[in-house]
Subunit: 396 residues, 2 copies
């Protein structure tokens, strides 16, 4: 029998993609410069030069090797380079033999869900969260439990404590966060870890913290980003080069099981097994070699900071209420009416394409992806001013 | 709870990889030219020049586009190019809107298993078959039913008829075949299709034929390869560019749901949904564009034909019994003792690395991957002669 669940999923409209398609059609109609499309989290800064340089170098080598199979876990030299760089920057202790190179962070989360969550068991995510978390957990037969945020969009840890149960196997965090841009504070991570350790003791089994961190390097103003692996031993890092190297289409990243996890070898084996059942053979071989040559480098994220400041300041001056984002390339803005979908529709009148927050598990916000040109942001301000006026917002 | 199934799978030794590792160690010990490693199906012919030419051209374009996300199903222009080329060559009628570009044929099979086979339902494969078929079907919660071959290594269709049941949802064929190199004849495909249609009528539900065909272009002597999609409407093509373009590490291929499949839109949606639950976002974007520029081209497979003739003739002259392979780059040789594992062990004495057939679902054979240099084959012949002498085989 065809899987009804999969049919439904395959047919379900993705709100972001729909909005982007609408924006595309509208641009064709009235001109690209007249539409202000903040819908998609596509990096707007090119890959750093090391990427194309590395590809050119690799084309001089033996094609059979460059395009050939690698071991399923990824090239040993790549894993070593990543671990060395990570440990130097974050003071962690991750090791090549517990690293599994993957086809992007989405693949990593799907694999973790299958490895860690059995049918009927639970995973916890903190709203607002990336919509696909639910798909990965439910696709493994598990149940996703959503924990609401505080006003500052940090996890509500009292609600988290109530959400933890005997069935909890996996907890997903995402810092900096999509869709809010918020970075988890050291205080939050400390308290979260304490609660997790207490729950492990109470229920007598490990609870794995999966740290989804494709935006790890996109943090501004030199803010330190406390790394979860240094707070909690049962952590698995889920990383992607999609944003840091602007390679979202190439699908390359890694899972790293903390070297301090007591049953880490078993968890690593479960990850390898789950990857096999999903048909993952190895992450793309050319890109594995490219990443090895580019480890530690990033796209020029200074441009994103300019955008963040322009947009955040512009919107708050107009009277909109936004949570200040320390990282990623998103601003989460409170909608002046409770219905975010209605607000997003109304914004279209001014050619503003904003994603309502409902798909991220919270109501009353829109997400603005500011991975666009600074010029687009500047030119969008009169449209936002009209939208603000419609709601009678007071300029600050 | 950790999935015991996944842990076991992640820890399970892969016989081929173990043999290849043994060969590598042995080469380091006694010299690479002294070891005759027929263990792995790694293409030995470089990618055709169009691949690196295409990459160089693409590096001149906008990095944000080249390395950016594509639609989940793959670039529309790529899907059109593939469909046009396929239809021209095989007289089929596949369409871009029912094509899903995937991360290699393994991903395609894993996705089909999840989309088509529900827990407790059955999939049928014809021995000898690629070992991972079992992993994909069992990973979806299904049961893999193995049908034995005839002496010519065509499917035993009487056994197939008995294996079909109300629970059968998916049937996997692989032509040319790994590990035997055998091509399914038009007669086999006709009878197989008749049996499938009768079973569909009997059980009142579709039975999907998944045609795993990464070796489709590796057919020698100008032999025509009858295409399954022209025999049976409920066919899904699972293709990979791993062998035809010698890009196994890059993970690029496609699924195509036959345009003649009555509920093809539903099946296509289920495929899209299953891909999402596994964390597939899009096939690698640079390689999608490379394939679009190389559609219809292949590596220089004439070299494989030279190897096949050298090895087949050499082995049969020594008295070994091999099934003549029309395609792929494998020879399946009967072992002169019933225990293929024991035979493979004995062959190691002469530095011959051969894969016992047990993992492919049959006993009494070894697989020889002849994607090696012709020189390796020539130099291996004295070793095979010693092995033949040990078993008292008669030269022909």
């Amino acid at each position: 029998m065809l899987s009804e669940y999969h049919i439904g999923l395959g047919r379900k409209k993705n709100c972001m993609r729909e909005l982007a398609a609408f924006a595309g059609a509208r641009k064709a109609q009235i001109g690209a410069d007249k539409v202000f499309d903040f819908s998609l989290g596509n990096p707007s800064i090119p890959a750093p030069p090391c990427v194309n340089d590395a590809i050119r170098e690799l084309l001089e080598l033996d094609s059979i090797e460059v395009h050939g199979y690698t071991t399923a876990a990824g090239l040993p030299s790549l894993r070593k380079a990543i671990a060395d760089d990570f440990n130097a920057r974050y003071g962690g202790d991750i090791r090549p033999e517990r690293m599994y190179v993957i086809c992007g962070a989405a693949a990593g989360l799907a694999i973790c869900a299958k490895a860690l969550v059995q049918p009927g068991e639970e995973a916890i995510a903190f709203a607002p969260f990336f919509t696909e978390y639910r798909v990965f957990v439910e696709g493994a037969g598990g149940v996703l439990v959503s924990v609401p945020p505080t006003a500052e969009l940090q996890p509500d840890l009292e609600a988290f404590e109530r959400a933890l149960s005997e069935k909890t196997q996996m907890v997903i965090i995402n810092t900096p966060n999509n869709p809010s841009g918020v970075v988890l504070t050291a205080e939050t991570l400390t308290r979260l870890s304490d609660l997790l350790r207490a729950a492990e003791a109470r229920y007598g089994h490990p609870i794995y913290l999966v740290s989804d961190e494709p935006y790890r390097e996109l943090v501004y103003d030199g803010k330190p980003i406390p790394h979860p692996v240094n707070f909690y031993d049962d952590t698995i890092i889920d990383y992607s080069y999609s944003k840091s190297l602007s390679l979202p289409g190439e699908r390359i990243g890694y899972l790293a099981v903390s070297s301090r996890m007591a049953n880490g070898d078993e968890v690593y084996a479960a990850i390898a097994g789950a990857a096999r059942t999903c048909g993952y053979v190895n992450a793309p071989s050319l890109m594995q070699r490219v990443v090895e040559k580019c480890v530690g480098q990033t796209s020029d994220i200074a441009e994103y900071k300019i955008n963040r400041d322009l947009l955040f300041n512009g919107l708050t001056e107009l009277g909109f209420d936004c949570v200040f984002p320390d990282g990623a390339f998103y601003i989460f803005m409170k909608t002046p009416e409770p219905d975010a979908v209605a607000f997003s529709e109304r914004a279209k009148k001014y050619e503003l394409i904003l994603v309502p927050s409902n798909d991220f598990g919270v109501e009353g916000y829109v997400r603005l992806a500011y991975c666009v040109s600074a010029d687009t942001i500047r030119r969008s301000m009169p449209a936002f001013a009209q939208l603000a006026a419609e709601y009678g917002l007071q300029k600050k």
